[in-house]
């Protein structure tokens, strides 16, 4: 396989909690919130890596740390082998041209007082497009994302939710990035519009050879767009596998529960694993396996207090559970 475009090495993002006045006087060390706690990921050029997990599991913090929108506590993010966490501000700014972010809420991510030309043109101007060419570039971008050239002088409120998300995509594409993080990019849209935007993102990926990190809580969407999927729980990756493999043979109990919890149109009768309780807080997470308190495996034991590491159980399949058993390689490969 090629060299990874983005490598995340043991990334940790911890936030100090607010201390009370009394605690500050006593110089008490603040309690920490372990939003991202030791994540390793490789993202290869041209692929779509899906990242799923429930709210509060640290998906968005991980995305922000990869783009260095928040400073990681420790660990490395390598973009083509270069550690971007160590770059000085000026070089970092040039680096940002390569990586862009699409947010969830197209209403909140567009300035209501700027026209589309100003919104999409700003990144162009910042990264050195001559002023005379900005307008024509913006028009070309709008056309590419399925809007009309005449939309260039309009304001965001004149567009529907789906159209706004197209503007956000045009803005992200303006600087010709190679890596795009889509953070819940289609979650706020209606199904029929969602389908349009997913199709657009897929087309753009082929045309511009983009690499996506696709973050969502919706497993059906992620299964549609991703080559590989990483499942996150309480700040850690618990399972990483090729998409079809993950759906056919989930190994981690959390992944199994997550997959069985999705209401589906096509198959209605199937046994469902209903997890008890809710996600523990990332402040003082349980020691050892983070899923221990909700785990339903009969084998779970005091060994689970030893933190399970992400280990390989099959081709391109990694699981962080002591009880996931490696399967023998598929027969056809042996016969080959």
């Amino acid at each position: 396989m090629d060299r990874p475009l983005v490598q995340v090495r043991d990334l940790k993002v911890h936030f100090p909690m607010k201390r009370s006045f009394k605690e500050r006087l006593r110089k008490k060390t603040p309690t920490m919130l372990y939003a991202v706690d030791g994540v390793n990921l490789d993202i290869y050029p041209g692929e779509t890596l899906g990242l799923v997990g429930e709210s509060g599991c640290g998906k968005s913090t991980l995305a922000r740390a990869i783009l260095r929108l928040c400073e990681p506590t420790s660990g490395q993010v390598l973009f083509e082998g270069k550690d971007i966490c160590q770059l000085p501000a000026k070089e970092m700014r040039a680096q940002r041209k390569e990586m862009q972010l699409i947010f969830q809420d197209p209403y909140a991510s567009l300035n209501p007082r700027r026209t589309v030309e100003e919104i999409v043109g700003l990144p162009l101007a910042l990264h050195g497009t001559p002023p005379g060419q900005v307008r024509s570039r913006v028009k070309a971008l709008l056309k590419r994302v399925g809007l009309h050239e005449s939309h260039v002088d309009r304001f965001p409120h004149q567009f529907s939710g789906g159209q706004r998300q197209r503007i956000v995509i045009a803005r992200a594409l303006a600087v010709k990035p190679r890596f795009i993080i889509a953070d819940e990019a289609v979650s706020a849209l209606d199904v029929s519009i969602q389908a349009q935007i997913i199709n657009l993102l897929q087309e753009l990926q082929q045309d511009f050879n983009l690499t996506y990190l696709f973050i969502t809580h919706d497993l059906s969407v992620v299964s549609y767009v991703s080559d590989r999927i990483a499942v996150m729980y309480l700040g850690q990756i618990v399972e990483l596998a090729e998409t079809q493999r993950l759906f056919d043979r989930p190994m981690h109990p959390y992944t199994k529960a997550l997959l069985s919890a999705i209401p589906r149109v096509d198959k209605r009768t199937r046994e469902r694993i209903i997890l008890r309780g809710s996600v523990p807080t990332p402040i003082n997470p349980p020691p050892g396996c983070r899923f221990y308190s909700r785990c339903f495996l009969p084998q779970k034991s005091p060994y689970c207090l030893i933190p399970p590491r992400l280990r390989q159980v099959g081709e391109d399949h990694y699981v962080a559970c002591h009880y996931a058993v490696a399967e023998p390689p598929l027969l056809e490969r042996g016969v080959g």
Binding site: V191, I193, N199, S220, Y224, T243, P263, V265, I274, L275
Partner: protein, 341 residues
């Protein structure tokens, strides 16, 4: 068909705004049998929430119910006075909303809010409890409060909240999203309603919590023999939870049928398009067939069939005449000139 719990006939709810009349709900008719779970699906702005609010008579200004009938056990709710309506609202028909944080009062404990609902309807939905409470002597009042408190604890237990005695004294912000929705369900069910309207009850929740809440609602439905109208945009949720599905588009019902009718034998082009746009789990890298265009503005609706501007089967007739909702099989109704073929 048997006896119906709720019958909605030709309901029209319009919003009168500066830019024109928005026909949010425009002449819809449907019915709900006792103990039945009916799902109303559609995209944002199709009128599903307004339908729910109309049944509860909770439509805010500038909206107004301009026509039709809402018969609950044969009594027309639209002709009732506000005082009489309060007896139904919460007592016979209860409603839960999407966002449990904004619907619970942040300055009252969870227990107080459940007790309030119980006292208001005196636990059985027949008496105006709050008036009664004022007229009682202090001892009787205390006894009634204690009874309501005990009933609230019972409700909390029923919806799966552990240590209810202690949690009754906590405030909504001390509960997680899923737990808050459980509290809302406890408030709604405290007066034994025979109809529960749930407006996107699980949309704000995570999938694993959603599964918990749907399981709970299904269980309570069979325990209490209560009918449920579930409003959602998620076809997967209705597929698992409901007996019948109503599909709405731009203020009109386009298709009604059993879950199997709608999901496996859809007739209306909009229903078909909607089903095709749902990404299937594990089915990868095919282009999803989306419905072209967007939902029309409610104050500038197209003539004829409201879907004809986005429909691939549309003919000249579709732009002129409005297709009526016609029954094509037993219990399966479609409003389309072409879809019945």
């Amino acid at each position: 068909m048997g006896e119906r719990l709720l019958m909605v006939r030709d309901l029209k709810t319009y919003f009168y705004s500066d830019i024109g009349i928005a026909k949010a709900v425009d002449g819809i008719s449907f019915s709900v049998a006792p103990g039945e779970a009916v799902g109303i699906v559609g995209e944002s702005g199709c009128g599903k929430s307004v339908t729910a609010r109309s049944i509860m008579r909770l439509v805010d200004y500038p909206g107004r119910i301009v026509g039709g009938q809402i018969l609950f056990r044969g009594e027309d709710l639209l002709t009732l006075g506000e005082q009489e309506m309060r007896r139904f609202r919460g007592g016979h028909i209860a409603m839960i909303f999407q966002d449990p944080l904004t619907t619970l009062n942040p300055v009252l404990t969870v227990g107080d809010q459940i007790v309030e609902a119980i006292n208001l309807h005196h636990g059985n939905g027949t008496l105006r409890g709050s008036e009664l409470l004022g007229s009682l002597n202090p001892f009787a009042r205390k006894r009634m409060q204690e009874k309501a408190w005990a009933r609230a604890i019972e409700m909390m237990e029923h919806v799966g909240i552990s240590v209810p005695e202690q949690r009754m004294k906590e405030y909504p912000h001390q509960f997680s999203g899923g737990m808050r929705q459980r509290v809302m369900i406890a408030v709604a069910l405290s007066c034994n309603p025979s109809l529960l309207i749930a407006d996107e009850p699980t949309t704000a929740l995570d999938v694993t919590v959603q599964a918990q809440i749907l399981e709970l609602m299904g269980q309570l439905r069979s325990d209490l023999d209560m009918a449920i109208i579930l409003i959602t945009h998620d076809l997967g949720v209705v597929a698992e939870f409901c007996d019948r599905i109503i599909v709405m588009y731009a203020g009109k019902i386009v298709e009604v049928g059993t879950v199997d009718d709608i999901l496996f034998r859809p007739k209306h082009p909009y229903t078909k398009g909607l089903l095709r746009s749902v990404p299937k789990l594990g089915d990868r890298r095919h282009r999803i067939q989306s419905i072209p265009g967007v939902v029309p503005e409610l104050h500038a609706l197209p003539t004829g069939c409201r879907f004809h501007t986005r429909c691939s089967l549309a003919t000249k007739r579709c732009a002129l005449d409005e297709p009526p909702l016609t029954e094509i099989e037993d219990g399966h109704e479609v409003s389309c000139f072409r879809g019945t073929a």
